[in-house]
């Protein structure tokens, strides 16, 4: 019974996603160099770029499925699977290293009990490394979703995480 409900729900989500993808393709198809803006639109909307999107995209843009796959996998920003509710990125670049980001990343991984590119079991946070947020004057920096936070330490990151959990 439970499985049937889940399957029905998944089918519903997939259908909804498929409709969204079709609409994004229609909106972007005539743009010069449309692929990146299209992939951004899809990921912004549904949280990732599902493989089901490759075929309709390739048809609309006169590309092979392999070319679409090649582009999606080339760029660090694009995800092929759903992420957690929030995305926490820790800067690993030199300026943040000079201000102790290596220690910070170890502590955050320990707090969340996950490694980079993993999501907490409750689906709340996906942890990613990032190489420079342009906040080098306030190192070490992290980004939670679309906001950057400067001069971070483990306690401040823990506070951000609990705020995200409470929201």
């Amino acid at each position: 019974m439970k499985r049937q409900v889940l399957t029905a729900l998944t089918t519903e989500i997939l259908r909804e996603n498929s409709n969204k993808i079709t609409a994004h393709i229609a909106a972007h198809k005539i743009m010069p160099g449309a692929l990146l803006p299209l992939l951004h639109a899809i990921q912004d909307d549904i949280g990732y770029v599902p493989e089901d999107a490759y075929l309709p995209i390739s048809k609309a843009l006169a590309l092979s499925v392999a070319e679409v796959h090649g582009v999606v996998t080339f760029y660090h920003h694009f995800r092929r699977h759903p992420a957690g509710k929030h995305i926490l990125q820790i800067c690993r670049a030199e300026s943040c290293q000079a201000m102790g980001s290596a220690k910070l990343e170890t502590q955050v991984k320990k707090t969340l009990r996950i490694d980079y590119h993993e999501t907490t079991p409750d689906g709340l946070i996906t942890l990613l490394p990032i190489y420079c947020l342009g906040n080098c004057a306030c190192s070490p920096a992290v980004m939670l979703d679309e906001e950057v936070y400067g001069r971070m330490d483990a306690d401040k990151v823990a506070e951000l995480i609990s705020e995200a959990r409470a929201a």
Partner: protein, 521 residues
């Protein structure tokens, strides 16, 4: 009504400027005081953000850093009346902003308006000399504009330092119905944020610079290729572009002339290599960001095979002041063949981090100690990396090198995009060399073997050196590998990774198990 300024720059926001702004607005309302809250760009004194300024008869008075908990005491001290003795006695009062020596010692040309104006106010931009450069440019021929840009001595501020005027001339002289202006806003180098500041804090200056480039070479379409890590810059640029279009500064027949120029922001997708101009163009075309062979130069066959100007944000944002005040005005700053100013970004382990725009020629020591105030941790500064992750690490013995492209070449270092990252004496330079290879391996586009394979092997060789396995042999191996990458890579990613690696070994040999004195500098 008294104007109160709280920055909207994302570094200021990262230090809590949004909450500070809200707390000020709420406290003013509570006390029944009417204020005009303006969200300006940042003055670039990032160790003091959030910096709040209040307008007075004598100019703006600064208070910093202001956290929400400080707001009540500021109101109690009559901070809105910035010149009053009560306000002056508040612990956070820094006096008149323009008199802060850190700012006063600078020569702000490209950053003239940054922190002063409201970023997306076109009226404010025009009131502060905005669009004067374009007005002048519209009266000149393409060749005359190219001459002005060439005579100014402006060189590509993205890092390659190629003369901007020569690049423009090539595109001007290549006939084609369709040409493009592409702004490289994929500022991926660690320690750099000047592009971000221009885009968030004075977006119209970039738009004006690109428009001038367009009318010069006959391009009607421009693209800003913006890194995806800068969501605030994206919003600000799009807002500014819409305003410029509405006011006739973009679109058909700009300012009533026969020129048309359209501008669009395109988001990158987190690939460092796309800061390399040919992979950037591939990416804009919707492909994997793999480096192209040169020739053909992008100026001849660039975006979609058409003649294309590809310039960094700072290069383009510097064009308006050159066209406004003249080539000679700009060329009068600087030293040797490095003319004009460089927006320097102080980052990493420094007490006073931020944006310092100065004429070329200042020494690193002045920047690290006079402006930077020494290390943030209070320990000695041991190494400084300049020019991003592909820049050399400099030891203290080289701190007296003046900032100049040629002087840096002489010591086998690069100025790059002007980012300066300081490390204190707790840094392990063998780990930094390992990281340089690791970063190259993560970001390599995979097209050429020296970079794709060399970077991965480099990490392994450094690991063996750290373990002390076949030490002398592996030190030689890393030198050979660096030589192959330096000479055999297609672009600067593989070609310049040897800079951080070899400079670390040469100057900090003790971290690699070598005796410092035996290592050649």
């Amino acid at each position: 009504m008294i104007k109160v300024y709280v920055p909207r720059d994302s570094s200021a926001l990262s230090m809590g400027a949004e909450r500070t702004a809200k707390a000020i607005a709420a406290e003013a309302q509570k006390r029944g005081i009417e204020i005009t809250l303006i969200r300006n760009g940042s003055r670039g004194l990032f160790w003091l953000e959030p910096m709040v300024e209040v307008e007075t008869d004598k100019g703006r008075v600064a208070y910093a850093p202001v956290q929400p908990k400080d707001v009540t005491s500021l109101f109690d001290a009559d901070f809105l009346n910035g010149l009053s003795s009560k306000a002056k006695s508040h612990a956070l009062n820094l006096g008149l902003t323009e008199e802060i020596s850190w700012l006063k010692k600078q020569q702000r040309l490209t950053f003239a308006r940054v922190g002063i104006t409201e970023p997306v106010s076109l009226e404010d931009y025009i009131a502060h000399d905005g669009y004067k450069g374009l007005k002048n440019a519209l009266k000149l021929s393409g060749a005359d504009i190219v001459k002005a840009v060439t005579d100014s001595g402006l060189r590509g501020r993205g890092g390659a330092a190629f003369p901007t005027g020569i690049k423009w001339k090539t595109v001007l002289d290549t006939p084609n119905e369709q040409k493009y202006i592409v702004c490289n806003a994929d500022e991926g180098d660690s320690g750099t944020y000047s592009d971000r500041m221009i885009m968030e804090d004075d977006p119209f200056v970039l738009i004006e610079g690109m428009t001038i480039a367009g009318i010069t070479v006959g391009a009607t379409q421009g693209y800003i290729y913006l890194r995806s890590e800068y969501p605030h810059a994206l919003k600000t640029l799009n807002e500014a572009i819409t305003k410029a279009e509405k006011a006739g500064y973009l679109g058909d027949k700009i300012c009533g002339s026969q020129f048309s120029f359209n501008l669009e922001v395109r988001r990158a997708a987190g690939a460092y290599i796309c800061g390399e101009e040919t992979s950037l163009l591939e990416s804009l075309e919707g492909k994997r960001g793999q480096v192209r062979f040169k020739p053909p130069l992008p100026a001849i066959e660039g975006l979609f095979g058409k003649p294309t100007v590809v310039n960094n944000v700072i290069s383009l944002a510097t064009v308006p002041i050159i066209l406004d005040k003249g080539a000679q005005f700009y060329a009068d700053y600087g030293m040797g063949r490095s003319r004009g100013t460089l927006p320097i970004q102080l980052a990493g382990n420094l007490k006073q981090t931020g944006l310092v725009e100065l004429a070329f020629g200042t020494t690193l020591r002045e920047l690290l100690y006079d402006f930077g105030g020494g290390s943030a941790t209070g320990r000695p500064i041991r190494a400084v990396q300049i020019g991003g992750p592909l820049g050399a690490y400099l030891p203290e013995s080289q701190f007296d090198t003046p900032l100049d492209y040629e002087e840096f070449s002489k010591i086998w270092a690069v100025l790059g995009h002007g980012g300066i990252v300081a490390f204190d004496d707790t840094v392990d330079m063998a780990q930094m060399a390992r990281y340089a290879f690791e970063f190259c391996a993560i970001e390599s586009c995979g097209k050429c073997t020296p970079c794709r394979i060399g970077s991965a092997r480099g990490v392994e060789v450094i690991d063996r050196i750290i373990e002390g396995k076949d030490h002398a042999k592996n030190i030689q191996l890393v030198r050979d590998l660096s030589d192959t990458m330096f000479n055999g890579s297609l672009c600067a990613l593989g070609g310049m990774t040897p800079y951080p690696v070899l400079s670390a070994i040469n100057h900090f040999g003790e971290d690699f198990g070598l005796e410092a004195k035996k290592v050649a500098a």
